[in-house]
């Protein structure tokens, strides 16, 4: 069996077709674009003002490191919105009953996933760039000043968000719209466990093991090290990357298995509830 038979060959042209399809969709609907900016802005403003208030009350940590909360909320949004951007693009196919057309076209699963990844970055950029500028305008917090550290944070967070997005897409293929709520809620399980707003040491010892097995924990610890102690922890980023490679491989494997199961169960024919 050659690469073409197994679906392992890759066409940038087909990926471009899918990206174009999502771009057309985004362009045709201003509420969709607004939705990308709305929640990150609300979140950033709320946490920003809370941080301001705590600092005014003499919070020692906040006096030392302004922007910990805003930084955390912005990085959390990269993680959360990255996964949501991936999953919503996938859900668009289910909502429009177009999945059958795609599954019976020459589009390979790997190309479909590549297009969803690109769209998650496009959606993230539309939502997050204005919010980072607002954070600077309102609270003087410049996320972009983190430079290379920001790039390392971003790469690790987006890899995790894609891995979760791939897994959720597999669940949707296998279980139909009954699994839709997973797309919206699964990432919230990471919120307490990856220690977005507090250090890992706050967790009970047994949960600390769980936390350290999740790549975003390393990123949020790294962010606090950078903002509070002004140290860039490259070791944490390398560890996060290693965990991400494992997570991404596991999610891809799960996706292919769920797709295979969907073909056996005939669930690709019924993509409704």
């Amino acid at each position: 069996m050659n690469a073409s038979d197994s679906g392992l060959d890759f066409s940038f042209n087909r990926v471009a077709a899918m990206v174009r399809r999502y771009w057309y969709l985004l362009r045709s609907s201003w509420p969709r674009v607004l939705d990308l900016i709305y929640w990150p802005t609300v979140q950033m403003l709320m946490w920003g003002f809370l941080q301001l208030y705590v600092a005014q009350q003499g919070g020692g940590l906040f006096m030392r490191a302004s922007g910990v909360f805003i930084g955390a909320v912005l990085l959390w949004d990269i993680l959360f919105r990255g996964q949501l951007g991936f999953s919503i693009s996938f859900l668009e196919e289910m909502w429009s009953h177009n999945l059958g057309n795609l599954m019976m076209s020459p589009l390979r699963p790997v190309e479909f996933i590549a297009a969803l990844m690109i769209m998650s970055i496009v959606r993230l950029a539309i939502g997050m760039i204005p919010v980072t500028l607002l954070a600077f305008a309102f609270f003087g917090f410049n996320l972009w000043s983190l430079g290379l550290a920001l790039a390392a944070f971003f790469v690790n967070l987006i890899l995790t968000s894609w891995a979760i997005g791939i897994f959720v897409s597999g669940l949707l293929l296998r279980n139909g719209m009954g699994a839709e709520s997973m797309a919206w809620t699964i990432m919230f399980l990471f919120l307490p466990l990856t220690c977005v707003y507090y250090p890992v040491t706050v967790l009970p010892w047994y949960l600390q093991y769980v936390a350290w097995s999740l790549p975003p924990t390393y990123v949020f610890e790294g962010m606090r090290a950078l903002l509070i102690d002004h140290v860039f922890r490259a070791d944490l980023m390398v560890e996060a990357l290693a965990f991400n490679v494992v997570l991404f491989a596991a999610a891809s494997f799960a996706f292919l298995k769920l797709l295979q199961s969907a073909r056996v169960q005939g669930s690709l024919l019924q993509t409704g509830e």
Binding site: S28, S105, R108
Partner: protein, 284 residues
Amino acid sequence: MQFTAGLRSLKLVAVLRGLRFLRRSVTSGPRMDAQSTSAIAVDRLVKLYKGVAAVDGITFRLAPGSITGLLGGNGAGKTTTIAMIMGLVTPTSGTVSVLGARMPDERYRVLHRMNFESPYVALPMRLTVRQNLSVFAQLYAVADIDERIAALAADLDLGEFLDRPAGKLSAGQKTRVSLAKALLNRPEILLLDEPTASLDPDTADWVRERLEHYRRAQGATVLLASHNMTEVERLCERVIIMKKGRIEDDDTPQRLLARYGRETLEEVFLDVARGRAEQHEAAQ
């Protein structure tokens, strides 16, 4: 007395079915030869869902350039059969081969040479017709996309709504657009699931005419699942009638009409659907 007569009828039905099977086997020729020369070869295909047979051991072969109707009531197994031919559903047992590629394992060898149309899938509603066709043309690696869309728009009369969102089209317009999508890559194999469902008679007739035209012009192999007997009678040179996942009959429309002594395929279909076929065969 009655019991003996019933037993005789049953034996007769069994003998008739055996003869029909033998006739089909003989005309189909050896399996390997037939598979290599068939556009679609379905062999002892079974699909079970939780132990229930949606498709129950069907075998048929479609010659290149032929147009075949797959008839059957709801739950007869038509859509599942088509889905297995497209590689969308994995068979429980048996094989499906399309243009020499075994489905679903080798589907990527042939998917670009196939296409399908069904009212149960839709094109993204917010994209315009042109955008939709252009995206699918790129997925199917169609050369000269704009030219192909223009040709299809002229052929299927899409010009008036080419730049309108797909969601704002009438049922008839949507069907024409779906047909355009199905013909984008000039498929050698065209699978159609209820292509004229929910269309008015005029539009349905128009769609049939275009399908007929395409098949003749391209020499494509067409498999058409339908409830619409007029459609099948008009378009198909061969009819496969399915019931409860099995093939109940398989012949040309003319021979079916003659064999059942009926004037329309609808009457033949009703005979098969209501189990009158066995009575009819027994009576003969």
